[in-house]
Symmetry: C2
Subunit: 397 residues, 2 copies
């Protein structure tokens, strides 16, 4: 019998409504401000990761993502491996009878169920799954909060993907980062009607990496200091209350304002960083027209470090929002699933948009390459769909 140990988990993508931008400690990935996100459904977007280890593996940890071998020598991956092995060693020290897994090479195999070309930040789901899978493999008694401190060191926003629903990340004040961790504001079941429509924009070229970009902002923007000092602390409270109260209008307004504030900080960086393009601006205008037509805020845009628009709305307004975009983008990928098929193209909404800001319709039509229909979802889930077989071989799929 081969001594192969393995554990598999899924982890979700999250999209922040209060943005993480700026590190107070780049080595420990400690942020300049707290942030808050919605965890998205893993039916639509998830990473599946198997962590395995064995005394029979050749020396050296390995990581395979979507069939591509990755460099594991980077400080971030190493920080995660190291922290998890230390926790395992504590168990091995307490219970000499358990196998000494911490000494075996780790083989990690990971797959995303969404196209890499979508330009969605996969590092959050990736590091959350990696940390959760190794923690399960090592049978660590840690809760998500504890693991979030470790995942944070791999990729800041990964700490938020260890929880489902509505998730905060407390910046903390300690130098060692012990108090900088994620927490659940509310589970998905508290406000399950939250939907997200992602407009994937075909960008000509990848922009500035977020790690480089955020530190240039911290170093050069003269407007940015207002975010950690005043703007974000106030918005964290407003947003947590909006979620508790299921107050969509406040949720939406704070989401849009914070996205704008983040991109304004990028523009105030020297040299300036642009993630929004004319397609992004057209999506913003479409959301403004939708809200004006409804007479209240029923849709909220937000943009991460790229031109893709994420539009949050409640299920009851699917016709007004997803219906409008289906009418414009019905020939693009992303409407094939059951939910997508059920959405009626909303010709009346297109007519209103045409009247109010007709110029944006061809811009959206030409600039969006696919859509992703999703919504709030659960945190990591243990899986038996292992990507490493009982002989330690990568499962070919």
């Amino acid at each position: 019998m081969s001594e192969i140990y393995r554990s598999t988990t899924t982890a979700p993508v999250n999209i922040a409504v209060i943005k993480y931008w700026g590190k107070r400690d780049p080595k420990l990935n400690l942020p300049t401000n707290s942030s808050l996100s919605v965890t998205l459904s893993q039916a639509d977007l998830r990473t599946l990761t198997t962590a395995s280890c064995s005394p029979t593996y050749p020396t050296g940890d390995t990581l395979l993502i979507n069939g591509q071998s990755q460099d594991v020598s980077g400080a971030r991956t190493q920080a995660c491996f190291h922290a998890l092995r230390e926790l395992r060693k504590d168990i091995e020290y307490e219970k000499p009878e358990v196998p000494r897994l911490s000494h075996f090479p780790l083989h990690i195999v990971s797959e995303n169920n969404f196209p890499t070309a979508a330009g969605l930040a996969s590092s959050a789901a990736g590091f959350a799954a990696l940390v959760r899978a190794i923690a399960d493999l090592y049978e660590l008694p840690t809760d998500p909060t504890e693991l979030s401190r470790i995942a944070r060191q791999g990729s800041g926003s990964a700490c938020r993907s260890l929880f489902g629903g509505y998730v905060g990340w407390e910046r903390g004040t300690r130098m060692d980062g012990k108090d900088s961790m994620a927490f659940q504001v509310a589970p998905a079941s508290h406000w399950p009607d939250m939907r997200a429509l992602i407009l994937v924009v075909s960008a000509a070229k990848k922009g500035v990496s977020s790690t480089t970009g955020m530190q240039t902002t911290v170093a050069t923007s003269t407007l940015f200091p207002m975010r950690p000092k005043e703007v974000v602390p106030r918005r964290m409270k407003e947003m947590a209350k909006a979620i508790t109260d299921k107050d969509f209008e406040t949720f939406a307004k704070v989401t849009m304002m914070d996205s704008n504030s983040f991109h304004a900080s990028c523009l105030d960086t020297y040299p300036p960083i642009f993630y929004l393009n004319d397609v992004s601006r057209a999506a913003i205008k479409a959301v403004e027209v939708i809200n004006a037509a409804a007479g209240k805020i029923i849709a909220a845009y937000t943009f991460d470090a790229g031109p893709n628009a994420v539009i949050y709305y409640l299920a009851e307004h699917e016709a007004a929002i997803a219906g409008l975009f289906k009418a414009i983008l019905g020939d693009k990928d992303g409407w094939e699933n059951e939910r997508g098929a059920a959405i009626q193209a909303n010709a009346a909404a297109v007519k209103t948009l045409e009247e109010e800001a007709g110029v944006v319709i061809p811009v959206i039509k030409e600039g969006v390459s696919r859509v992703i229909l999703t919504g709030v979802g659960e945190g990591p889930v243990k899986s038996e769909e292992h990507l490493v077989d009982e002989q330690g071989q990568v499962v070919s799929r």
Copy 2:
């Protein structure tokens, strides 16, 4: 003999390097922060205005701009007329022998030498010329500083067009606005080599008006308060010193950062205001590549409330900057004059741009409709080219 009194003046356009955005008093046009601009040469961009008055004119003041009759009942035009008439009345009170011009209807006729379609803010030159022409007509003993307080009430940035060269506008702190006026930082002759290349971008639609936009920023942006509080006061000092020292690199860096800061404030407004588009961003990238290739900052972009790029540079770098854009935009209007004809299309610079950021070349080519080659210039100049003849008739041209 007909009793027609007239006086004619020209006034220049100015383009700010430290931006005016936000009013602390919308009625008096008092700004939230000081600003600083370069007055552009009137050979390329100017307003020509004749102010005339006569007891024989029918009742009511009139204003004709580029052959179009304008409404003069607006508070801003009225504020200018009223302030100038009051100063004239003081003279008439002191010297009963002078004609009582303050009681006669005013007929103002104004023409720009640049296409309205260029989307250049003509209100600064327009109100500066209007105020200067009426002041000359009334033989007011006022200097440009005094007149700048009046022109400011017509259009904020008009106060800076009463001076040539490098011009500041002090925000002032008084409620009545008496200390909010323009002043000359340095005459054009101090640093005459300053050139400006304007890339006129064919925008699909006029954006948010600046008056509405800036007050929405003041009311909603949470980052903007840093500008009046810290950012602009520091930059005003840095910029004045850079001009005194003829330190182009500092001049350029502060110019670019302040343009970015202004547009970041617009983006942080709710709802967000966008003036920059993908063509503007391509122009920014081109300037970044020019500077990187030169190994120092030889060009500075700045953008007002629209997508047009204004690029400042020194005459010695004409080949590197204007030459690059001539190679890309040589078939567009604006190169016909003597200076434009003398510029060689710089193929080597295009090659560098192609290598570093080739994607921007077609964006600039397709998005820029014309160029304007100009540079630092003088303030208003009295003219005998009257737009009203000796019989009080508008001169047809």
